[in-house]
Symmetry: C2
């Protein structure tokens, strides 16, 4: 099928067609005449090179890992092998929730290149959330994706020997895990070197870093992240890893994939929606001009959780073929109620983890290295700090009180109250 081979070398717009031309999986889509190919570098992420390669016949995405963190530079080296983990995660996600992640056309491990489906005219969801655009069907796709990938990648469903082999495979992703372990779970809670925050938050930041309950609970969550290998997670499931069009929602960029607790993906996702909710006043043309859109965001959050729970429950009832909660012990003994009882406990467990990880995400995206565009693009510093402070306050509540928050309605009410009252 052709290959690029050789020693690792970063692609450029100039060399791309020449180097990828021999790969039939690509030339099958773009045509063999590479003079008709055009390449554009569009990587706006923190880590990689990303190109759109087009010809009159079609377009593909070419993603290549760089041997360092792009956001920081070559002072922060990062293994090319993350491309291998992204490839393996994409293949598994495609099997578990067909049609939601880009189809992989070609993978070159040495060059750390994945050639895959180009979604057009889709845009990154985070940009939509800044622009105030609604997307019908968004919550349903995201809720289903979470339920299907989290359930089907776990011992609730998989053959456990395969799952154990997969745990071993992804256990090698040490450096990517370290980024999450450090930037998400540790740096925000002390004055770490790479941290930065809007200066008007100084007082609140000091308060949070002196908050013993918050620190202890965030570290319990870190411990779960590091040690509870429940399922294959996307691992970086924020609104920058979601692409949307008028009618479609897609999920991209699982290079941080790891085995971890189910609530991590759902929590990171919901935390990003709540931050987008709080950021809206920073993007309103007139005071209150984004109120309806804020309502839409909270509706999306509510619907994601409802769809997730419903689909997870359906899978529990219909596809529970793994070594956990075996039907042999429950349904086959006439104890359907036991199976429902266990399901309710597990959903409660995922719910509490979800809230906790959402809170951790909201805090780290304001105090640690990588912030969110919804806040960063608010030029008025006072206003930005107000939006960020609200996220911090909800985040703190979720981390500390995650086991005592009853329902999504309760949490969304809390968000509404904080949106009205809290300031820096």
């Amino acid at each position: 099928m052709g290959n690029i081979g050789g020693t690792y070398e970063p692609l450029s717009v100039k060399t791309l067609a020449g180097r990828l031309g021999p790969v039939t999986a690509i030339s099958n889509r773009l045509g063999a005449d590479i003079s008709t190919w055009t390449s554009k570098e569009i990587g706006d992420g923190n880590l990689n090179l990303v190109f759109i390669v087009s010809s009159p016949l079609g377009s593909v995405i070419v993603k290549q890992a760089l041997p360092y963190v792009r956001l920081v530079g070559d002072s922060w080296p990062l293994p090319l092998k993350r491309s291998f983990f992204e490839y393996h995660a994409l293949v598994r996600q495609a099997g578990r929730d067909p049609g939601t992640v880009p189809e992989v056309y070609h993978f070159d491990e040495t060059q750390a290149i994945i050639v895959m489906e180009f979604f057009t005219p889709h845009k990154i969801l985070r940009h939509s959330l800044i622009a105030g655009e609604k997307h019908p069907g968004l919550a349903e796709v995201l809720g289903l994706f979470c339920a299907r990938t989290l359930f089907r990648g776990s011992d609730l469903c998989m053959d456990t020997a395969k799952r154990k082999a997969d745990v071993a495979l992804f256990a090698e992703s040490v450096e990517l895990c370290d980024i999450t372990e450090t930037l998400v779970f540790s740096d925000p809670y002390f004055n770490a070197e790479r941290n930065h925050h809007t200066r008007q938050l100084d007082r609140l930041v000091a308060e949070l870093r002196a908050d013993i309950d918050l620190k202890v609970e965030s570290q319990h969550l870190k411990s779960k992240f590091c040690n509870n290998a429940e399922t294959l997670l996307h691992g970086d499931f924020h609104t920058g890893s979601v692409m949307v069009s008028e009618s479609e929602t897609k999920v991209i960029d699982p290079e941080f994939a790891l085995y971890g607790p189910m609530g991590f993906d759902t929590g990171m996702l919901l935390g990003n929606f709540w931050m987008a909710y709080f950021a809206q006043p920073g993007h309103a043309d007139t005071p209150g001009g984004r109120a309806a859109y804020q309502g839409w965001i909270l509706g999306v959050v509510e619907e994601i959780w409802a769809v997730f729970s419903a689909e997870f429950s359906r899978l529990w009832r219909e596809e529970r073929s793994g070594i956990l909660y075996q039907q042999t012990l429950f349904e086959d003994q006439g104890h359907r109620l036991a199976s429902e009882q266990a399901l309710a406990h597990r959903l409660q467990h995922i719910w509490q983890d979800t809230l906790g990880f959402a809170g951790v995400e909201m805090i780290r995206r304001t105090l640690s290295l990588a912030h969110i565009a919804e806040n960063d693009t608010i030029e008025n510093e006072e206003l930005r700090a107000d939006c960020e402070a609200r996220g911090l306050r909800l985040g703190r509540q979720l981390v500390v009180n995650r086991c005592r928050l009853h329902s999504m309605a309760t949490v969304n009410d809390l968000a509404r109250i904080i949106a009205k009252e809290a300031k820096q």
Copy 2:
């Protein structure tokens, strides 16, 4: 250093000296003249060949895995690779709690042979518990062993990259994990093929298998066992894996080693002590003749937990060098109290898991394939069933109410009450 090499072949008393003679790690201890060596097969376990090899100069233990489950026969194949996992576990345990596990002199992966230190005049603790013999220092060694191996094998202490590599290594131990997953966590809760129980227990067994809360909670514990890779466990830490003399306590046989939840080792151990407690009337010469000894057993249980907690706390304060609950976030910020708060939470967590896994162990050792000698050697079936029923009743309480049992005094009181009142 010499090696046995070649294709795998089980040792026998006749072939042993000839085959192991060239291994200098052994001849250094027994002398090069193999005509002075004598071999005796002593394997009374369920899985392996075990020989004592002696000469006038010394003795060693030679343990060789068989390609099937010895207890069942060659209809139940089992990979030789368990010897590899045992070897790796022994080496790690020796590093984490020096002097408690046998020193390994030689390991031959192809032959699945470990040659190791012979403990003499030690006997298996389980036999002591039948004979009614006390062992000073027993609880201290066991409590320290648990605290040191569980703490030092976790992300509380280890370099996480090394821990992740180790998780990947032990994730290959699929078949041994399957034995625990099936025999400990599933079979007892339905009418599985390999189960057997004393017939007088029929009514109680039916009651337990219809007990929805028990079934659901036992499966939550299974889920923890399968997915919470907190630390390297011994994995089969019952009183048959402990050797005792007048003055020494040693721990052997970690071939079931796996990454799992800390409370699994402590729980299995305590569950076996509680079963030994209930079995005493079956071994008394006169009614009540073992009352004082029963008191000693409960004292050992109490002391094991006290020593474990104290040592775990000491290690938390002095050796917390891993990625979890980093000193950077706590002590270094003047928040020593936060570190103590987190420690208290973690101990509470291990305590609840310990009780749950103890309960699961007590149930499976009465209803599943492998029972305990303390009960099996009670010839009077009625009496045996009474002893077993008491274990089942405490086990059920521990599994279902593990999060509501406050202290070891409470649990031991419960054991005393059940010992007096409960019958089949």
